[in-house]
């Protein structure tokens, strides 16, 4: 019989840094850190000597000098006399505009397609599968370029829309017609849509050199207030239902609260539309939207919608059949089963991939460079970079902005995810 002998206390030897698991992790970490620091030092060193070779320095002063180029689509006032910083701002807003519109359209389309793909209708389910497979297996760049090419090459030139008195006499139609009861004209140059105008606008206020339209602000506040009151109404109805078992009718109150205030406000300000009209060689009046914007939004939406559809489908499939069967056994109708039982549970599976889709949409807007859409990549990373030759500064700034955007979107998404996820201990 042997006795367990306490091992002799070992003295620290140098070899233990490599062969003893207690110390090895320190050795590895120190070596990794040293290598990374050496690598960074090497990069910095190279950068300094390269900059010195070219007689350049790192300097962000160019942001306050004159930009000198035009941008078609500008959400804040901008002329070619404005600074490069202003151009950056215009570009950033253009990026956000595309990302925002595309996210909304992609969500609506994606959720619809995802649910329809699970439909019992054989034909519709197959069609949706074909749509999803075709669009997600072909590069997004192809869809963007193809959409843009169709808009700018297959659409008629403005003069085809012309109606002359002789044509009216002869009862002929012009070569091209406007869509939606003569309100929208899509030519090979741009899409012209009606512009909402107010007779009695509230005017504008400058906020950090960005003009803010007070009428729009007021409308937004009114809509927000209506939604808040509406939510209170719903809560009250729910309280009554739980106390008495009978839910009071609220639908006409909801409609009134949601629609009446904004309608009254807009009528009081005298809302009317200015329609695009063919004058001379092009359409005048209304809002003219560049094809690069339309094509980018459409292509990104239909492409990303396929990913959202798959996320929605996976989420709904992840809920076990027993849940909906239990709901049916309780006597819930299919619609309420979906709303009250399946969707709340599916949401926590659906939301995380949706967040990463919104991030992808934001990052994919940079593909607008292929159809010369002047977003952040086009202004700061394109023309400004080429004009000033400050590659390092422009690229660093752009990466920083995108990292910040990603961080903001993912934290908003995570906050929402935390609110819908299963509460467990």
């Amino acid at each position: 019989m042997t006795l367990a002998i306490e091992p002799a206390k070992e003295n620290f030897r140098l070899g233990m840094l490599v062969y003893d698991t207690r110390y090895r992790s320190y050795t590895i970490q120190v070596i990794v850190l040293l290598l990374v620091l050496l690598f960074l030092l090497w990069l910095t060193n190279n950068t300094i000597s390269n900059l010195a070779d070219r007689g350049k320095d790192i300097n962000f002063d160019f942001l306050s000098s004159r930009a000198g180029y035009d941008i078609d689509q500008q959400l804040v006032p901008y002329t070619n006399d404005s600074t490069h910083f202003r151009a950056l701002l215009v570009g950033l807003l253009n990026t956000l505009a595309v990302a925002f519109c595309a996210s909304i359209i992609a969500t609506i389309l994606g959720v619809t397609v995802g649910i329809l793909r699970l439909s019992k209708n054989w034909l519709v389910a197959r069609l949706m599968t074909v749509y999803i497979e075709i669009f997600r297996n072909v590069p997004l760049l192809l869809w963007i370029i193809l959409t843009y090419t169709i808009f700018s090459e297959a659409r008629p030139v403005p003069k085809d829309f012309k109606v002359t008195p002789e044509m009216i006499e002869a009862g002929e139609q012009p070569k091209a017609l406007m869509n939606f009861w003569d309100t929208i004209a899509v030519t090979n140059r741009s899409s012209n849509i009606p512009a909402p105008l107010l007779d009695r606008p509230l005017g504008t206020v400058d906020f950090l050199t960005i003009p803010i339209n007070l009428s729009v602000l007021a409308s937004l506040i009114i809509i927000g207030a209506s939604i808040y009151v509406h939510r209170r109404l719903k809560l009250k109805a729910k309280a009554v239902q739980e106390a008495t078992g009978v839910r009071p009718t609220t639908w006409w109150k909801s409609l009134l609260i949601l629609l009446a205030p904004i309608a009254v406000f807009l009528t009081a300000s005298g809302l009317h539309f200015e329609y695009p009209v063919l004058k001379g060689f092009n359409f005048q009046g209304g809002i003219s939207i560049a094809h690069s914007f339309t094509a980018l939004v459409i292509a990104i939406s239909i492409y990303s919608a396929t990913y959202i559809a798959e996320a929605v489908r996976a989420g709904i499939l992840a809920i076990s059949r027993g849940q909906s069967e239990a709901a049916f056994a309780l006597g819930l109708r299919p619609g309420r089963t979906m709303n009250l039982v399946v969707l709340p549970q599916a949401l926590r599976v659906i939301v995380p991939p949706m967040i990463s889709q919104y991030l992808n949409i934001t990052k994919n807007t940079t593909l607008g460079a292929a159809i010369s859409y002047l977003d952040l990549k086009g202004t700061l990373g394109g023309i400004t970079l080429n004009q000033t030759g400050r590659e390092l500064e422009c690229m660093m700034l752009m990466m920083l902005i995108f990292l910040t955007l990603s961080l903001i979107i993912s934290s908003i998404g995570n906050a929402y995810n935390a609110s819908v996820k299963l509460k467990e201990r």
Binding site: V32, L51, L123, P139, L142, T149
Partner: protein
């Protein structure tokens, strides 16, 4: 006493009602169950009808032989009358080589073709390690296809014969000793690099010699210094060889004994050749790097962990285009002065880095999905870190993450089209732009995009189906 009627004989079996059997039942259940579904069906049928009405004449009037779009249109009108529409696939036929190879010199087309064929030989041991029949079958079929393709591309007979001989030898090797094909896999990167770019044969041989030196030094040193230290020493020696000695020796050898293939400039790479070179290199390299990053992120060493997180989150937070532009503009600042790194090489490096960040996140998901007990069981067996990872953790984690990994690969392959934005000639932007700028084909847009899209669709769709097959094949749970 009550009397009741009791039937004593069986009734003959009756056929089900017409509405409850056959096609009518199927239609009622699948297309017209309820008013909502009926409306959906009718809408879908309407959409389908419209689509077919436009597509069918367009496709059936396709023109395959013409020299310009004008000619195409004339042929369509001559065939089907005024106002008829027809696809002009003649463009694809005329520009086929350019779509495949870009501006790669015509007389060198055999090189990328051979490299592509060799890739399957290199893949054979990965797919069927040590299996005689499937390896030989794969290599044999690829050899025959390669020779046919070389004939189709109009390669001179000498090269066809030579390459056919090489492939025949490899087929024989696959039949005799399938395990030896691993050497082809190991050599493939250098061989493919040499075949594609050409230049002096001594460059790749010098690089290869570095690896041989690495192995030799390690083997000699490990007896005295132990495995870990020997590996470090061998690495240092090899790096010294690659950075310090290699260039002068290979230059000397080249002047003494010049052996070379004509050098092809990176600007000439284009079309699907470029997409494949970037896509395949990035896919193969990003997987191991991504796994290492995922392990780093899961490790309990704080410095390694935070470095990995920083790396992964940075590259996942910025769009690929900004990274590609950095390869174009910024890498020149970061590398030592007067380094002249090729644009394709720079793009490949940043695409690898970018893709490995995504792979790392996918693999991390797989690692996190493993039950804690698996790690503890590995520890309890007394396995060390790499043994536990290699034998217990990774096989399971990678299996879980197959769908994610493959969809990252698909995304990566689709993203190779973005290199057009830094001036490389990808099939989508680069080649199509050149074709559309040609006066003969001015105004053509559906056909080139449908063609390029169809090829991308074929590869991406096959990849996703293969991953589904792999998932089913590797499934071990009993459901």
């Amino acid at each position: 006493m009550s009397s009741s009627f009791v039937r004593t004989e069986m009734l003959p079996q009756q056929t089900p009602p017409v509405g409850e059997s056959g096609i009518i039942k199927w239609l009622r259940e699948n297309l017209f169950s309820g008013w909502f579904n009926s409306i959906l069906t009718l809408l879908a049928l309407g959409a389908l009808y419209n689509l077919i009405q436009i597509l069918l004449p367009w496709l059936s009037n396709s023109v395959w032989n013409a020299e310009s779009l004008r000619e195409c249109r004339d042929i369509v009108i001559a065939q089907s009358g005024e106002g008829a529409s027809g696809a002009c696939w003649a463009m694809v036929r005329v520009r086929w080589n350019q779509f495949l190879f870009g501006l790669y010199p015509v007389e060198e087309y055999w090189r990328p073709t051979t490299a592509f064929a060799l890739m399957f030989v290199a893949l054979a041991p990965v797919l069927y390690y040590g299996l005689k029949r499937p390896s030989a079958q794969l290599v044999g079929v690829v050899s025959v296809l390669m020779v046919l393709a070389l004939f189709g591309l109009g390669t001179d007979f000498g090269h066809i014969f030579l390459m056919g001989l090489v492939m025949a030898a490899l087929t024989a090797l696959a039949w005799v000793a399938p395990k030896k094909l691993v050497f082809v896999t190991l050599l493939f990167p250098l061989v493919a690099f040499y075949l594609l770019w050409g230049g002096s044969v001594w460059g790749p041989i010098g690089t290869l010699a570095g690896f041989v030196i690495l192995g030799a030094v390690w083997w000699v040193a490990q007896r005295k210094l132990g495995v870990v230290v020997a590996a470090g020493v061998a690495l240092v020696v090899a790096v010294l060889w690659w950075l310090g000695v290699q260039t002068s020796i290979t230059t000397a050898l080249h002047t003494a004994m010049p052996m070379e293939l004509p050098y092809v400039r990176s600007d000439d790479f284009g079309g699907f050749l470029l997409a494949f070179v970037i896509g395949i290199t990035a896919i193969t390299a990003s997987l191991p790097i991504g796994i290492l990053l995922a392990l780093g992120r899961q490790s309990n060493m704080p410095i390694v962990k935070s470095l990995s997180i920083g790396f992964i989150e940075f590259f996942r937070g910025v769009p690929l285009i900004t990274v590609l532009f950095s390869a174009n503009f910024m890498l020149l600042y970061f590398l030592p002065p007067r380094t002249n790194l090729d644009l394709i090489l720079r793009v490949i490096i940043v695409v690898i880095i970018f893709a490995s960040a995504y792979i790392a996140e996918v693999v991390r998901g797989g690692l996190a999905a493993l039950p804690r007990g698996q790690y503890e069981a590995a520890d309890a067996l007394g396995l060390d870190y790499w043994q536990a990872q290699g034998l217990i953790i990774m096989p399971q984690a990678l299996k879980i993450s197959i769908p994610g990994i493959v969809s990252s690969f698909i995304g990566l392959f689709k993203d190779t089209t973005l290199v057009a934005l830094v001036g490389l000639m990808d099939p989508l932007q680069g080649v199509t732009k050149i074709v559309r700028a040609d006066t003969a084909w001015k105004g053509i847009y559906w056909e080139p995009y449908i063609f390029v899209g169809a090829i991308f669709f074929f590869f991406c769709f096959s990849m996703s189906r293969y991953s589904m097959y792999l998932e089913r094949k590797l499934k071990t749970d009993h459901r």
